[in-house]
C-alpha cells in the first residue's frame, strides 16, 4: 500500500463520507484519482464497505445478545448457518474456532423476544449447547470500530 492510499484511508476512517473532491484537494491530486483508488481498494477487498451505525434503542430495541453455540455435527455447518440466519433479528452468524463452534448475534426488543430466539436456536437438531451473554448496547450493524486502531 502506497502513501496516497494510506492518506485516503486515514481520512475515510475518520470521516467515511468525506467527499472525494475534498480529499483530492488536500492531497493535491485529482478527484478522479481518489475515486479510482477507492474503487480499486474496494475491488481488492481492502475496503469492505462504507456503512452506517444505527442506535436501535431509538426505535425500540433494548439490547443485543452474543449467543455461543456448540454443535454436535460439524460436517455440514452451512446447513445450520442457513437455518440460524432465518431466525428473525439474527444479524450475524459466524463460524468460530475454540471453545465454541458458532457465534450468533441478535438484537431484541424485550426478554420475550430474546427467549423466543434462544428457544428456536435450541430446537435446531445439531445444536448441543447454547450459552448467552447480553448487553444493553444497541449499536448496529457495526460492532467493530477501526478508526481507533493505529494501522500505518
Amino acid at each position: 500500500m502506497d502513501k496516497i492510499n494510506q492518506e485516503i484511508l486515514s481520512q475515510l476512517l475518520i470521516t467515511p463520507q468525506k467527499p472525494f473532491l475534498k480529499i483530492s484537494e488536500e492531497l493535491g491530486i485529482s478527484s478522479i484519482t481518489v475515486k479510482d483508488r477507492y474503487e480499486k481498494m474496494k475491488k481488492d477487498g481492502i475496503i469492505i464497505g462504507n456503512t452506517i451505525m444505527l442506535n436501535l434503542s431509538k426505535i425500540g430495541y433494548q439490547g443485543k445478545a452474543f449467543i455461543h453455540i456448540t454443535t454436535s455435527d460439524n460436517n455440514n455447518p452451512e446447513i445450520i448457518i442457513k437455518a440460524l440466519e432465518q431466525i428473525p433479528n439474527v444479524f450475524l452468524v459466524s463460524r468460530i474456532i475454540g471453545e465454541f463452534d458458532l457465534l450468533v448475534m441478535v438484537v431484541f426488543r424485550d426478554l420475550t423476544e430474546l427467549k423466543d430466539v434462544i428457544n428456536r436456536i435450541r430446537a435446531q437438531p445439531s445444536v448441543s449447547k447454547v450459552e448467552t451473554s447480553i448487553t444493553d448496547d444497541t449499536m448496529y450493524p457495526v460492532t467493530r470500530e477501526y478508526s481507533q486502531l493505529r494501522l500505518f
Binding site: 500500500m1 484511508l9 475515510l12 476512517l13 467515511p16 463520507q17 481488492d44 477487498g45 481492502i46 475496503i47 469492505i48 464497505g49 462504507n50 456503512t51 452506517i52 451505525m53 444505527l54 442506535n55 434503542s57 431509538k58 426505535i59 443485543k64 445478545a65 452474543f66 455461543h68 440466519e85 432465518q86 431466525i87 428473525p88 433479528n89 439474527v90 444479524f91 450475524l92 452468524v93 459466524s94 463460524r95 468460530i96 474456532i97 475454540g98 471453545e99 465454541f100 457465534l103 438484537v107 450459552e131 448467552t132 451473554s133 447480553i134 448487553t135 448496547d137 449499536m139 448496529y140 450493524p141 457495526v142 460492532t143 467493530r144 470500530e145 477501526y146 478508526s147 486502531l149 494501522l151
Partner: protein
C-alpha cells in the same frame, strides 16, 4: 429508557440502502424510494437528529494490514477491577469492540492478532491481569452480516 422515535417503511428503506453503502447518492436513494432528493435529505437529517443514525463507518479488511486473525474473547472478572482491565485492554491490544455483558461472560471482546505468536501474547497478557478469573478465546473464521433480517 430512550424515547422511541417512529420511523416508516420509507425510512427503513433509506436505512437499508445506507447500511449497504453510506456513500449512496441522495438522487439514487430518491429514485429508489420515489421521493425527491430534498425529502430524502430531510429524512436522513431527522434520523440523525433523533439519534437513530449515529455515524458512518468505513469497514476495512484488517487482513490487508497484517491482522488476519479476529478473536472473540469472553472474559470473566472481579467487578471491582473491570474499569482497569478495560483500560489495559484498550491500551495494549488492537481491540475493535468491548461489550460489557450479563450472562456467560462479563466482557465480550473483539481483538485483532497478527499471527499465532501474537495470539499467545494476547492470551497471556489478558490472562495474567489481576482480577481476571477466566478467559475463553475463539478465533473468528468467516462471517457475514445479514442486514435484511431485521425489522427496522
Amino acid at each position: 429508557m430512550d424515547n422511541v422515535a417512529e420511523i416508516d417503511e420509507i425510512d427503513a428503506k433509506i436505512l437499508r440502502l445506507l447500511i449497504k453503502d453510506a456513500r449512496s447518492k441522495k438522487t439514487e436513494i430518491a429514485d429508489y424510494c420515489g421521493l425527491s432528493s430534498t425529502a430524502i435529505k430531510n429524512r436522513i437529517e431527522l434520523m440523525k437528529a433523533n439519534g437513530i443514525i449515529v455515524k458512518s463507518v468505513l469497514n476495512i479488511n484488517l487482513a490487508s494490514f497484517g491482522y488476519p486473525y479476529l478473536l472473540l474473547i469472553g472474559v470473566n472478572l472481579l467487578p471491582e477491577r473491570e474499569n482497569q482491565i478495560i483500560e489495559m485492554i484498550k491500551q495494549h491490544t488492537k481491540v475493535a469492540g468491548i461489550d460489557r455483558t450479563i450472562g456467560k461472560y462479563d466482557l465480550c471482546l473483539f481483538v485483532f492478532a497478527k499471527n499465532l505468536n501474537d495470539l499467545e501474547r494476547l492470551k497471556n497478557l489478558i490472562k495474567n491481569q489481576k482480577g481476571i478469573t477466566k478467559i475463553d478465546i475463539n478465533i473468528w473464521n468467516q462471517f457475514q452480516i445479514n442486514t435484511e433480517n431485521i425489522k427496522i
